[in-house]
């Protein structure tokens, strides 16, 4: 029953025998260049006459800028120019953002600093060392203001206000109501409540932000090379802030990005800042963020406090949820925030059948770094809360935690299933997934082991978590941040959908190249596209050249382009399939004209187009291609010369939110079920993961080896967040995790091995049946760890409602009495 990903070597052999590549663990074509040090990352690019920027940053969480004097820096040998925050205020516009709150966010502090690390000035110099020397020569005088740090403090009427024009610290507030919540609670047999705290952490790519900006004063075009990874809706936001037309802002993204996990979508304020510096310097300017800058002032997910209340029947059926959420988006609510709150709106209930849901959501601003997309965006928080409540229900009703979840899973026969919030689960079999993880883990035996461990006074816990993995965001979901009456105004442009394109061409000798613009960050897109195109055209992957470099001036692209929200396996691959099919159709059409045989009668076999009814009639694909390029005389008038095809894939099921705030926020929805086994060391507070079982349904798997890599990487981000990683601040708003000694990431020693199982419910919405998988276990791992640690500590009467569960916190829970509200 356990479907292990095939080993590379076997898979390769099979692939050669059957000539079918989708579903095989084809080795990555990206690897040889990366293994020999020949990749192209932004910092590897040098431009003629290029100078280097360093950024002066605020040491204070909240202060008014009294004065800033760059004169000594300007006089320093080697310094080209200095750009101050005041100039940023003059030369650029505030960033647009999809909420009604009227605060202003610029790429540097104009008159007030609002978080430690906020840019205050930029030095451009001939060399980075000199630029950094000159930072020390800029004199800034601050008038300190009281800070606001914690999410709930931001709502305190006596709290300091970050943006005076707003009158409070609330960037967005929505009350969403689905079904009959009051009815469900009135009829409940049991009502449970809990307060949850979810920490601020980041999937933290190893390559930091990198920007090279070049302004052509003769045309006004600003060309930016960066490791931005989409969504390209942020291109529009960047152009607006620079106050230039979008066609004069050219984004180029090289073939290699050193990881992102969502974090690099928030690089765009730095693109504006460095572009302003480049305009002022009159030459290309490069800025490479250092690690401390990244930890202080790039991006991360929100920290949040949530209150959850559930209505339950005596049989364990969950009938209603009330959720109050306070998301801390940091000093400025920065686009695409407040998407953290709304991205998972369609899948808020996970795989459970509950119909009645009320969400009271606040996005508050505090003196912390602004937030943005981070792998799992918004999902790990809701699944943490959801799954802890499932455990509470089990405990309260004396049911097994697996059984409680089973009783609430949406039955397979009801899929496609529409959630009360409007999400449409396209395919799945959640019972089957749960059965598989229980079988793999030998759950009953695990419970026996636990019993034995408890007899020996050991803290042994079994955690369970399930979740729905949403992929390919419907760009309209973010507009749920606006009240329906705003969305209903006559001048308002509704937003919906998600699209991607691929371009393919065959040269005169029949060889194929494909151009993608998916901004991969390590996911192996070039390899996957070669597999797909090889299958579609009946050729070998090695005969397909794939280029994946983004250039807004050269490619057809979309607001939704980029690789985020697990888009590629659903939408990018589908565009590649459609482009290959379009090319194939054109080859057949041209062959039909050349052979005088109807198109229906023609097939491509082994590089030859041949008539099904008369095998004498045939022409090689190479000759068709040669004709299309060299001998246009033979082409019918209605056939374009050459053999190029561009195809666009978009999902039909994406519409803008309705007046009831219902929206199908994503397109394909995968499933995961986790069982995590831990032992807690009573004396040190250390949580040791003993075993892990992880079941996934991502529809058709195109390359099992790559998917295994995604599951492992994703799970470790979730585990890191649950056990080690935290971008912590003190009560005064000072950042406490400014380097890798304080921001603790798991290494190979801490990383557990996973037992992975697969089920496959192909998506009916994509040509290959594939769904995204890149975020899956990132979303469920924190919940699974929390569930396991809570289970381990249950004999001590300890509850878990807060992460991370680092040794200090766990030790304190075990050894020190808890305050009332814990």
């Amino acid at each position: 029953m356990v479907v292990a990903p095939p080993k590379t070597k076997t898979a390769k052999k099979e692939a050669q025998e059957t000539s079918k590549y989708v579903g095989q663990s084809v080795k990555r074509r990206e690897d040889p260049r990366l293994l020999t040090g020949r990749g192209t990352f932004v910092d590897d690019i040098k431009m003629p006459n290029m100078h280097h920027a360093a950024i002066l940053r605020s040491p204070r969480p909240h202060a008014r800028i009294i004065s800033i004097d760059p004169s000594k820096a300007l006089a320093h040998p080697g310094v080209t120019t200095v750009l101050t925050g005041a100039e940023v205020g003059d030369k650029s516009l505030p960033f647009p953002v999809g909420v009604v709150a009227p605060f202003k966010y610029y790429s540097a502090a104009v008159d007030k600093v609002r978080y430690v690390g906020e840019p205050v000035a930029v030095v451009v110099a001939s060399d980075r060392y000199v630029a950094e020397d000159a930072l020390d020569l800029i004199e800034v005088e601050y008038d300190p203001l009281p800070p606001v740090v914690k999410p709930e403090d931001a709502l305190d009427p006596d709290a300091a206000i970050l943006h005076e024009e707003l009158g409070n610290n609330i960037g967005c507030h929505r009350e969403l109501d689905y079904g009959d919540v009051d009815g469900a609670f009135a009829e409940a047999d049991l009502i449970l409540k809990e307060r949850f705290v979810f920490p601020r952490y980041s999937s933290l790519p190893l390559e930091t932000y990198a920007v090279i900006s070049d302004h052509d004063a003769t045309t006004g075009v600003v060309t930016v090379r960066s490791n931005f990874m989409g969504p390209f809706s942020m291109h529009a936001v960047t152009a607006r802030a620079l106050n230039i037309d979008e066609n004069k802002l050219r984004f180029i993204v090289p073939s290699d990005i050193g990881g992102s996990f969502g974090i690099k979508s928030s690089i765009y304020p730095y693109i504006v800042l460095i572009s302003l510096a480049a305009i002022k310097a009159g030459r290309p300017v490069k800025w490479i963020e250092d690690r401390q800058e990244h930890l202080l002032a790039s991006s991360c997910q929100t920290d949040r406090v949530a209150y959850r209340e559930v209505a339950v029947k005596n049989d364990g059926t969950l009938t209603g949820i009330k959720s109050k959420v306070i998301e801390n988006v940091g000093a400025y609510l920065r686009a695409p925030e407040p998407a953290c709150t709304f991205r998972p709106i369609g899948n808020f209930v996970g795989p459970y059948k509950v119909q009645n849901v009320r969400i009271d959501a606040y996005d508050v601003m505090t003196n912390k770094c602004p937030t943005g997309p981070n792998r799992g965006y918004g999902c790990q928080q809701i699944y943490f809360e959801q799954e802890r409540m499932m455990d509470h229900i089990a405990e309260e009703l004396d049911l097994d935690p697996i059984e409680v979840r089973r009783r609430n899973l949406i039955p397979a026969e009801e899929i496609p299933y529409t959630t009360p919030m409007g999400g449409i689960y396209d395919s799945g079999n959640y019972q089957k997934g749960m059965d598989l993880v229980v079988e793999m883990s030998q759950y009953e035996k695990l419970r026996q082991k636990q019993e034995e461990a408890r007899k020996e006074n050991r803290l042994f816990g079994i955690g369970i978590a399930t979740g729905i993995d949403p992929s390919v965001s419907n760009m309209g979901y973010i507009t749920v941040a606006l009240p329906p009456e705003v969305r209903a105004k006559p001048g308002y442009l509704p937003k919906s959908g998600s699209a991607e394109s691929a371009t393919i061409q065959m040269n005169q000798r029949g060889k194929v190249s494909v151009s993608m613009n998916t901004t991969p960050q390590g996911q192996g897109h070039e390899t996957v596209v070669s597999q797909i195109v090889a299958d579609e055209l009946g050729i070998r992957p090695e005969d397909v050249v794939v280029i994946d470099e983004f250039d807004t001036a050269k490619h057809g692209w979309f607001i939704s382009s980029g690789t985020y929200a697990s888009r590629f396996a659903s939408v990018g691959t589908s565009a590649a399939v459609l482009a290959a099919r379009k090319l194939k159709k054109k080859i057949i059409r041209l062959a039909s004209a050349l052979l005088l045989v109807s198109e229906d009668d023609l097939v491509i076999e082994g590089g030859t187009v041949v008539s099904k009814s008369d095998s004498e009639k045939s022409i090689t694909v190479k000759r068709v291609a040669g004709t299309a390029h060299w001998n246009l005389e033979l082409l019918p008038d209605d056939i374009e010369a050459g053999l190029q095809a561009r195809a666009v894939f978009r999902f039909p099921s994406n519409v803008a939110p309705d007046s009831q705030d219902r929206v199908n926020s994503s397109n394909t929805y995968g499933f995961m079920a986790e069982i995590c086994v831990v032992e807690v060391d009573r004396d040190s507070g250390e949580v040791k993961i003993i075993d892990w079982f992880s079941v996934h349904d991502a529809g058709t798997v195109i390359n099992p080896m790559l998917m295994e890599g995604q599951i492992y990487g994703g799970a470790l981000h979730g585990i890191g967040g649950a056990l080690y990683e935290e971008l912590s601040y003190d009560d005064e708003g000072q950042m406490l995790a400014g380097n890798f000694m304080q921001y603790v990431c798991p290494t190979s020693v801490e990383a557990p091995k996973l037992n992975i199982g697969h089920i496959c419910s192909p998506s009916p919405l994509t040509p290959l049946g594939s769904k995204g998988a890149g975020e899956s276990s990132t979303e469920t791992a924190p919940a699974a760890v929390a569930s396991a640690v809570a289970d381990a500590l249950r004999p001590l009467g300890i509850n878990i409602n807060e992460l991370p569960l680092n040794p200090k916190k766990v030790w304190t829970l075990i050894h020190e009495p808890q305050p009332e509200n814990n």
Binding site: L35, F740, S748
Partner: protein, 159 residues
């Protein structure tokens, strides 16, 4: 400020380089910027992430924590020096076969650390590989496929 340039002679991947450097120039910047060997990556500049690891007179060193002038007279191997005559080193081959890399940014450092590990311990256990690589951070892979890659390469290098 002492920005007097100093002459140094460094052998990198078997080739001898003579350059003038500022005393404060980091070895990582020297390799990347002055010698155009951009395969060595910089991930933290405080010696934790290990992306910038090179072989310095046969031993691993963080090139972000050394000055170029400290390398005067030294022999250095970077990721560019592992493959010989276009033939991937067994470690590079192992990483390729076992999906030991995703974005590839940390990979040069892992390869160099694994190189030293296998020189010292040609037949490591899985636990020894995990401990041996614990000075290098990877944010993409969850490490499992990296460990598989090194064990696979070790086996091939022994036979």
């Amino acid at each position: 400020m002492d920005n007097q340039y100093r002459s140094i002679k460094v052998t990198v991947n078997g080739e001898e380089y003579h350059r003038q450097v500022e005393p404060r120039r980091l070895l990582s910047d020297f390799l990347r910027e002055d010698l155009d060997l951009s395969g060595t990556h910089v991930g933290c500049e405080h010696g934790i992430c290990g992306a910038c690891t090179v072989l310095f007179n046969g031993q691993t060193a963080r090139s972000c924590l050394m000055f170029a002038i400290q390398a005067d007279g030294a022999e250095i191997t970077t990721v560019e020096g592992l493959a010989i005559d276009g033939q991937l080193h067994p470690l590079q081959q192992g990483f390729w076969e076992n999906h030991g890399l995703q974005c590839g940014f940390c990979t040069p450092g892992f390869l160099i650390s694994a190189y030293e590990l296998l020189e010292r311990k040609p037949n490591p256990t899985e636990e020894e590989v995990r401990i041996g690589l614990s000075g290098n951070m990877c944010r993409c892979t969850g490490y499992k496929q990296i460990v598989d890659s090194v064990l696979d390469a070790a086996e091939k290098m022994r036979s």
